[in-house]
């Protein structure tokens, strides 16, 4: 009975620890996935001066040639160009600062899932000119509807202020609300005409076949195009990189909190066990069991119970995590707003943290042993005469 309590608390502790890690791993993976496949790509290329203040003068020199070379390089899935400028979006009622992205629609749909993100209206209509896709957050803020007219104002490559009238063709919504608020998409032809940069562009977004190739391909490209700024998603979104790293640490802190709760449970149960067995222990001491041996006995009992609880906890965690890994865990209960403001999707696919399993196991077993030390020491303090008189 008491053994069951300890076995179960070990199992529950282990399960909770693994579940937290799995959830974090799933969230981080989906965040990185979103970042790569819906926002930044694996790698981005810019002119080395461009990112300082997004001056549209700094197009990628020989861009069309380079993008062809890259698109056909091994390991590269696709490469898409973007013309980019910072500007002002104005309606009859107000204005907002935005980044205007000139894209080749078909390529952009593939590289950042732009088409899939559209929640109202339609994709670009190639027969129409000056269409714009805007994010839901921005549309709400600026009270823009489908077919609404707006004016985009920015400086062209020679520093002259230009503006163009655009019509809202579609409204998109991604998992990343802050990005939706700041970015609008137009056809690269329309933007380039206004910027007077003809067929040039400022950015190449690259998707690779495999995530693992990022740094090797990045190195290759750097060697091949020394004059260009070539960044991986970690450099483009250092906050995501940091998030992944700090979450790693947080997950251990949460583990430790769970373990402290577990430790109290074990201390309590073991103390009860020892109080209940006072006479038994007193009798064994009277008969001549030495204290070291008694101590070892109590320790062994806890270790045995821990080892009995461990597979139960791991198995339960594995089953449940795998279930949700396939089905997805809907976290919209936590608040859609909050999740998307951090760039997380609503559905998390928790992943069994096999890489951290050893660490978790060590923490759990160490917790169990440490928390039985105190009860064991108490048992050692028992005087047989006193214990037997009870």
């Amino acid at each position: 009975m008491r053994s069951m309590v300890i076995i179960l608390s070990i199992a529950v502790g282990l399960f909770a620890g693994i579940a937290v890690l799995a959830l974090y791993k799933g969230m981080m993976k989906s965040r990185v996935r979103t970042l790569i496949y819906a926002e930044a790509g694996h790698l981005q290329i810019h002119d080395s001066n461009f990112k300082k203040d997004y001056d549209p003068r700094y197009v990628i020199i020989n861009g069309s040639k380079i993008i062809k070379e890259i698109a056909s390089a091994p390991g590269v899935l696709l490469a898409a160009p973007r013309s980019i400028t910072q500007g002002m979006l104005a309606t009859t009622t107000g204005s907002a600062g935005v980044q205007i992205n000139g894209v080749i629609p078909e390529l952009e749909y593939a590289v950042s899932q732009l088409k899939r993100k559209i929640v109202e209206g339609a994709k670009f209509n190639s027969a129409k000119k000056n269409e714009v896709l805007i994010g839901k957050k921005l549309a709400d803020k600026m009270k823009l509807k489908l077919r609404s007219k707006l004016v985009l104002t920015f400086t062209d490559s020679s520093g002259t202020i230009v503006s163009g009238a655009f019509r809202v063709a579609g409204i998109f919504q991604s998992d990343n609300a802050p990005l939706d608020e700041k970015n609008v998409y137009v056809d690269i032809k329309d933007l380039n005409a206004l910027l007077s940069i003809s067929y040039a562009f400022h950015e190449i977004v690259i998707l690779l076949d495999r995530d693992e190739d990022v740094s090797s391909i990045q190195d290759n490209l750097r060697r091949r195009y020394p004059g260009l700024l070539i960044e991986s998603w970690r450099e483009i979104s250092p906050e995501t990189d940091l998030l992944v790293k700090t979450t790693n640490q947080y997950s251990y802190i949460i583990m430790i909190i769970i373990m402290i709760a577990l430790a109290f449970g074990i201390i309590n149960t073991m103390l009860m066990a020892i109080i209940e067995r006072t006479r038994e222990i007193g009798m064994m001491l009277a008969l001549g069991i030495n204290r070291l041996r008694l101590f070892t006995l109590i320790l062994l009992e806890t270790i045995f119970l821990t080892l009995a609880g461990t597979p139960i906890g791991i198995l339960a965690a594995w089953l449940i995590i795998n279930y949700y890994n396939k089905k997805g865990l809907n976290l919209s209960g936590l608040g859609e707003e909050m999740m998307s403001s951090f760039g997380f999707g609503m559905i998390i696919y928790p992943e069994f943290p096999i890489d951290k399993l050893a660490g978790v196991l060590i923490i759990v077993i160490a917790t169990a042993i440490i928390s039985c030390l105190f009860p064991a020491l108490r048992a050692l303090m028992l005087q047989p005469v006193v214990a037997l008189r009870r």
Binding site: E280, A286, L287, R291, V385, L388
Partner: protein
């Protein structure tokens, strides 16, 4: 005959600061190998305290206790534990056995502590269970045994370590009279046939009647000892 227990002038005082209780007061006790002795006296007269002192479970405030010539009051706590394991057998009033172990394991456990090898242990267990007439209950847990059977297993366990003597504090207190007399039969037989030394406390007149020597305690002092009477008789006889 060899002397096994030689207690000189021992005293144990509880609460010396507040209201002192002289649980054992200036006791001399001399026990020889093969004696079968009952320690009697009213409740609170100090029987348990005296047995605990002799068994090395407690230290006297005054006096020395020599067991086979070794003064156990001078032993360190750890040496005392070891000394108990190899020299003294204990039978308590109740709760003698470890509930999770079988009868056999309860007896074997003490020999494992003594590091006796498996073959010798098995032989001894066989012999001991024959003596207590419980060969069919070897693999039962204590909860499946009657109180009398449990006490017999406790006697077997006490014997297992081949001690110099066995101390039993009211071993029959929780038994019905049939089980009590059964237990006494076994102790008596062990004493007669194998010369095992017993010192046991009791309230029960029928148990007292079976003892070959009776020591009576009142308020921590020995007020009568049949051995001294008989010694006096012997002295008297010698004079004739």
């Amino acid at each position: 005959m060899d002397t096994v227990i030689d207690a000189h002038n021992i005293s144990k005082v509880y609460n010396p600061e507040t209201i002192p209780v002289y649980a054992v007061n200036n006791v001399h006790l001399h026990l020889k190998k093969g004696e079968f002795t009952a320690l009697v006296g009213p409740s609170g007269s100090g029987k348990t305290t005296l047995l605990n002192l002799i068994g090395g479970l407690d230290k006297p405030d005054e006096g020395n206790i020599l067991i086979n010539g070794i003064d156990i009051t001078k032993l360190s706590a750890n040496d005392l534990i070891d000394f108990r394991l190899h020299n003294i057998g204990f039978v308590f009033q109740s709760f003698n056995l470890i509930p999770v172990l079988t009868a056999k394991e309860n007896v074997e456990f003490i020999m494992q502590l003594q590091r006796i090898n498996k073959k010798q242990r098995d032989e001894r267990i066989k012999q001991l269970f024959k003596e207590i007439d419980l060969e069919d209950k070897l693999n039962e847990r204590p909860s499946k045994l009657s109180g009398g059977q449990q006490q017999r297993v406790a006697v077997a366990r006490a014997l297992a370590s081949k001690p110099k003597f066995i101390l039993a504090d009211e071993p029959t207190a929780n038994l019905d009279s049939k089980s009590a007399s059964n237990l006494l039969d076994i102790m008596d037989k062990l004493n007669r046939e194998e010369n095992i030394t017993f010192l046991f406390s009791t309230h029960d007149q029928r148990v007292i009647d079976r003892a070959r020597r009776v020591i009576t305690l009142v308020d921590g002092r020995i007020v009568s000892d049949t051995a001294e009477v008989s010694t006096k008789h012997e002295d008297a006889d010698m004079k004739h």
